[in-house]
Symmetry: C2
């Protein structure tokens, strides 16, 4: 009744997800990482969660600063996603993209599809990761473009369902 | 420093997500619901989470049965998703699709892109929802098809990024 990490990861490749950049600020230092493990938790009060690996530089800064912003990327931002996924480190990540400061102090991406500016209200440790639960204090929404997705180990975009379905739906 | 539920929901429409059916079984009764608030938590040990509204019929059954299976839908399964999102109730939901019983006893969808059969190891209450954290005991992966996505209030499919990007990427 146990599976190994590789079997688990093979399965998880099939769970497509929107790509976000989660940012924070602590003592004047900006920090951010690309994250797909983000989901809505409750609309009232507005609450979301993000799962962050404890080895990520942003992990401890989110804990200390008790704030973070989830920036949902459009399909024009694959290069920015790669930058925050490891291509660059620390403050250098922010030299691409247009960044402002959110209500809480966390960096907001000016051209995100949506930005959720959160106060950290709870954290749950689970194995290698921590679940950060955030109360959303500000939302900026910029619809009209398409999201960047990550599926089966690669970046993808969105298509209308009638364009892709040939089967039994 | 507070936003209303509608503003939050408008923002969340921009967070595209894979569509799953989360199932459980308790005292011979099968139960399931369509869910997009699912994400990977840790690969070692294999752990994932799903956020479930406390008003959902499956909520208490997951708590009592301490098991659930996350079935990732393909883009051929929009009709099945609607069925588990409210079109049908209770056991009647399972009369479409091919269902088997997983290692834990939860129903597995035979044509899911991936199925994660989980033991409930922790639950965190947060407003209207509960975060169910599951240790994954079995994974079935059936790659080669495309995922069903939910974005901006509607079902969508996946497209290669080069087919959709015309901008600055």
């Amino acid at each position: 009744m146990a599976i190994d990490a590789d079997t688990y990861k093979q399965g998880m490749r099939q769970l497509a997800a929107a790509v976000t950049i989660v940012t924070t600020e602590h003592e004047g230092q900006r920090c951010g990482l690309t994250a797909t493990a983000v989901c809505s938790l409750s609309a009232d009060p507005p609450t979301l969660l993000v799962c962050v690996n404890r080895s990520a530089a942003a992990h401890d800064r989110i804990k200390l600063g008790r704030r973070f912003c989830v920036n949902v990327l459009s399909d024009e931002d694959a290069a920015l996603s790669r930058r925050f996924a490891g291509l660059e480190k620390g403050e250098a990540r922010f030299t691409a993209g247009v960044w402002r400061t959110a209500v809480t102090g966390a960096p907001v991406l000016d051209h995100a599809l949506a930005s959720f500016d959160c106060e950290l209200i709870e954290q749950v440790e689970a194995g290698t990761h921590t679940i950060f639960i955030g109360r959303v204090h500000a939302v900026e929404t910029r619809p009209g473009r398409r999201p960047l997705l990550y599926a089966d180990g690669d970046y993808s975009g969105l298509a209308a369902l009638e364009d892709v379905v040939t089967g039994r739906a």
